[in-house]
């Protein structure tokens, strides 16, 4: 799984979000990371939707916000894959610690 795809799944793990909210969440999470652009986001979203990890849903009605926005929701498969990827990454972090590439607290 590509890093951007994992980032999107992570953003959707605690609730449905629209595209701009996903970008905001990713940027808020990793201030030091390279900024994410809309082109990159939607290509990744297309892949996630096609693989059945994410599904588009209608968002809530927001008064004065124009037409209803499309939100994205994590599917069960998506949640399972995100968990699997998180475990894999955690395992890698443990391995890095064992190899003394990381110390506790970093």
């Amino acid at each position: 799984m590509r890093a951007i795809e994992f980032e999107i799944l992570l953003s959707l793990a605690d609730g449905d979000r629209h595209g701009y909210a996903i970008i905001q969440d990713i940027e808020a999470r990793g201030a030091e990371a390279a900024p994410i652009e809309t082109g990159t986001l939607y290509r990744a979203l297309q892949r996630l939707v096609e693989e059945g990890l994410v599904r588009p849903v209608d968002g809530p009605n927001e008064p004065g916000q124009g037409p209803r926005r499309r939100y994205y929701q994590l599917t069960n498969t998506g949640r399972a894959q995100a968990s699997a990827e998180a475990r894999r990454l955690a395992g890698l972090v443990e391995a890095a610690r064992a190899a003394r590439l990381l110390t506790r607290g970093t």
Partner: protein
């Protein structure tokens, strides 16, 4: 702001395949808009640019993966393109050379003209340094020193404003004197220039204070040529204008602010303190205050000057204004942007021509590779992959061509700088240093990008239009579709039109350049010095006072043993101008009013090549106390006194001087051509008046010296000084230098265009041959069938030549109106008659027809001889 970026974003979305765009486009645009909302303009611009770059890259990547293919941008495509280019070294070399020529010439032309006309001065914040020139009735004039202090002191939109004036400085004594083009400047101008000295210091305000010790700052060139680059010179006294003067500094090489100054002395502060108008006049320079435009500064300065002058001279001053312009702008006048644009447009046509030729070469090559392309498509390669591979080839060709072209342009710029330094030093504005700079590199990059985009789109169109079934069933040889035939014919028409326009422009420029180079003023320029005596109005308030000064100065100049001949002269009117009219006594109302160049003269007319052929010349006694007299030129006499002598007749000038006085013609002078060499009004019809009988604010001195130029300059200054110790003749320089300097830019531009047109002609011959070969090649199948059906070789030849004639006709249709515009434009600016213009247009057209028919003949002959089998199988 956001709406504009949003439009760009929508455009960028086109990089994505339609399927993706339809599904996600609207939402992406919304998200982009959300991100932009609330950002300040700078942050919004940065984000938008980043978004757009990523958007296009993502779109291209998305296109590459449609249908499950591999990523679009692959290193192996680059290698493949390199392999293909290496397989045809001849094609690659020719393409690169044509591109390098087109790109190099366009870049060089842009840079040359940009440096000469547009570029800011090569000084710190040079774009803010300006000349401040009062203008009366549209004519630029120096400011009267009596107004300068109040004017400068009231300005808010201009800072560090200081006065300057050109002054010839005589360095050394007696037998070892040299004259350098110096300037007296307000020390504040060194703050304007912000250029640290090479040695010592620059001028400081204390140097201009009353009673200050005279000091001088030398240019690098003066320091080297006059003082042998002596490092011990600083703080040592040298003799300047017969006064011991301390050298306090030497400026770095190629610094000549304000224009081409060779030494600087301080403009005394009392110059500003004078209350008497007419004692002195100065020019002003300074900096625009931060954030102020030229127009704002000019508006403020005009208002201030009107206020200052109206305090001294009551009355309407509406025609008084102030021009605030950069130094290069003032040199080239209001039409510099138009001139710059037109000349660059012509250079860009060379690039168009090169691109047409390269397009043809690429199309021919794609045609050859059409079978390979079709097979790859049939085996499942994506069209995007083929387009990208073709694009890599184009990018590589354009890059190499661009690098070679830019290197050639850099060499050319350096060469022209070296040439001007060797041949024109001392006469050139200091900012005329041609070299590669950031703007030129950016422009070269722009040209390369344009070339890549233009050629890339042709390659992409061709690859996208490949019809697998058609190509493969054609047995490997493509007869050429109607679309291709049309494209090929269009390219020939564009080529014909472009070359015709370029050649016509070149021919017209050549005629003008030839006139400039062979300019015959009608007299010998050897040992002839030019200078000007301008008596200040304050001390010479009346016509009698000015006449007395001119008489004294003339007598002092004649008394100088250094001069062989002396003439004081003032041009009063140009022929064909309203002020050039005159009336002959006794003639009734004439529908055609006689006109002539009108000059006031004092001294030996033979200095300017004129001799008296009948009657008498002027004498020093022909002054205001005597009856008004005049001389006419032989050509004027022949035109208006046909078959009889004009001597004894009377004329009255209608536009200048005393227009009521009848002047008796006392003699006839030989013909000399007057008028601007590049104007339509040049001719020998002239009326001469005695300088002492026609009042005027200035007299030009023409002095033929006996020994050296330096001695001549010094003697001129000395003689005028004898007439008025406070008066220094202005602008002393050899006449030959004046003429050479006037023609330098015209000559350089003409040479530049001669090179451009030679290259255009080369491209025309090579390109038309290639285009016609290809155009005829596309009809090979048809020719074979015609031959099989009994068409003769001659019949096929006629058919193909008719095709060429048709393409010529289409090209001519496009070119004709442009030729008309160029012809009318040239004729209205320069002395080129309608006959010559039409003749040149016809000549150029005939030459182009000959080139096209000649380059058509060879492929036509070859095609007509081809047999049916070969035609249909490509054997």
């Amino acid at each position: 702001m956001t709406a504009r970026w949003r439009r760009w974003y929508r455009l960028g979305l086109r990089a994505f395949p339609a399927e993706f765009r339809n599904r996600w486009g609207a939402e992406m645009e919304e998200t982009f808009s959300d991100r932009m909302a609330g950002l300040d303009p700078g942050a919004a611009r940065r984000l938008a640019l980043r978004e757009l770059a990523t958007l296009v890259a993502s779109g291209l990547r998305e296109r590459g993966t449609i249908g499950g293919g591999a990523p679009l941008l692959q290193a192996r495509d680059l290698k493949h393109a390199l392999r293909l280019l290496g397989r045809s070294p001849g094609f690659s070399l020719l393409t690169v050379l044509v591109l390098a020529g087109g790109l190099g010439l366009s870049t060089f032309t842009f840079s040359f003209l940009h440096t000469a006309m547009i570029k800011a001065l090569p000084l710190a914040e040079g774009e803010r340094i300006v000349r401040i020139d009062p203008m009366a009735s549209g004519r630029v004039e120096p400011i009267d020193a009596a107004d300068a202090a109040a004017f400068v002191g009231s300005l808010r939109s201009l800072v560090e404003v200081g006065g300057y004036g050109n002054r010839d400085l005589v360095v050394g004594r007696d037998g070892n004197r040299q004259v350098v083009d110096g300037a007296v400047v307000d020390p504040v101008l060194f703050s304007v220039a912000r250029m640290p000295p090479l040695l010592g210091r620059t001028l400081i305000p204390a140097d201009a204070a009353p009673g200050a010790e005279p000091v001088i700052v030398l240019s690098y060139r003066t320091w080297v040529l006059v003082f042998g680059a002596d490092r011990e010179l600083i703080d040592r006294p040298v003799v300047i204008n017969d006064r011991p003067t301390r050298v306090v500094g030497v400026m770095p090489e190629r610094f000549g602010f304000p224009v081409a100054t060779e030494a600087w002395m301080a403009l005394p502060t009392e110059t500003y303190l004078t209350n008497t108008p007419g004692v002195a006049s100065i020019r002003l320079a300074g900096r625009l205050a931060p954030g102020v435009t030229h127009e704002q500064a000019a508006a403020e300065a005009s208002a201030v000057l009107r206020r200052v002058v109206s305090a001294r001279v009551p009355g309407r001053l509406d025609s008084l204004a102030v021009s605030v312009e950069s130094f290069p702008a003032m040199q080239f006048g209001e039409e510099r942007v138009l001139t710059f644009s037109v000349l660059n447009l012509l250079a860009a046509l060379i690039l168009v021509l090169a691109l047409v030729n390269v397009t043809n070469l690429l199309l021919a090559r794609l045609n050859e590779r059409s079978r390979e392309t079709a097979v790859r498509l049939a085996l499942g390669a994506s069209t995007a992959r083929l387009v990208i591979q073709g694009m890599w080839e184009t990018v590589l060709l354009c890059l190499v061509g661009g690098i070679l072209g830019t290197a050639a342009a850099a060499w050319g710029l350096d060469a022209i700088t070296r040439w001007t330094r060797a041949n024109m030093e001392g006469n050139l504005a200091f900012w005329w240093v041609w070299q590669m700079d950031t703007v030129t590199v950016l422009v070269a990059g722009g040209f390369v990008t344009l070339a890549t985009a233009a050629l890339g789109s042709v390659v992409a169109r061709q690859a996208l239009s490949t019809n697998v079934r058609e190509v493969l069933s054609d047995g490997g040889i493509r007869g050429g579709s109607r679309r291709e035939g049309r494209l090929s014919r269009t390219l020939v028409a564009i080529q014909v039109a472009t070359v015709t326009v370029l050649m016509f422009f070149g021919a017209m420029s050549g005629v003008i350049a030839r006139r400039v180079m062979n300019l015959d003023l009608g007299y010998d320029l050897t040992n002839l010095l030019h200078g000007a005596i301008a008596p200040p109005e304050g001390r010479y308030p009346s016509a009698e006072a000015r006449a007395a000064l001119y008489r004294k100065a003339h007598a002092a100049l004649v008394a100088q043993g250094e001069f062989d001949r002396i003439l004081l002269r003032r041009t009063l009117a140009e022929q064909h101008s309203p002020s050039g009219r005159f009336v002959t006594r006794g003639s009734g109302p004439d529908p055609v009013a006689p006109t002539a160049h009108q000059l006031a003269v004092l001294g030996d007319l033979s200095t300017s090549g004129v001799t008296i052929v009948e009657g008498r010349g002027f004498e020093v006694t022909d002054d205001p106390s005597r009856a008004p007299v005049a001389l006419v030129s032989r050509s004027l006499a022949a035109r208006w006194w046909r078959g009889r002598s004009p001597v004894g007749d009377q004329i009255r000038l209608a536009g200048v001087g005393d227009t009521t006085a009848w002047r008796t013609i006392v003699g006839v002078a030989s013909d000399v051509v007057y008028g601007n060499p590049l104007s339509r009004d040049r001719g020998p019809d002239a009326v001469y008046l005695p300088l002492l009988q026609d009042d005027g604010p200035v007299a030009v001195v023409m002095a033929r010296f006996r020994s050296t130029e330096s001695a001549g300059r010094a003697a001129l200054i000395e003689a005028v000084g004898e007439a008025d110790p406070l008066l220094v003749p202005e602008g002393i320089q050899p006449f030959a230098g004046v003429v050479r300097k006037a023609g330098f830019i015209a000559l350089s531009v003409s040479k530049l265009f001669a090179a451009c047109f030679a290259f255009a002609l080369f491209l025309a011959v090579v390109g038309t041959y290639g285009l016609m070969s290809r155009s005829i090649g596309l009809r090979r199948g048809e020719i074979g069938i015609r031959r099989a059906l009994g068409a003769s070789e001659a019949g096929v030849r006629v058919l193909l030549l008719r095709q060429a004639a048709g393409q010529l006709g289409r090209g001519a249709l496009v070119a004709a109106p442009v030729l008309g515009v160029v012809g009318v434009g040239f004729s209205s600016y320069f002395p080129i008659g309608a006959g010559l213009t039409v003749g040149l247009a016809v000549g150029v057209s005939v030459a182009i027809v000959a080139v096209v028919l000649a380059t058509t003949w060879i492929p036509t002959r070859r095609a007509a001889r081809v047999g049916l089998r070969e035609s249909l199988t490509g054997g």
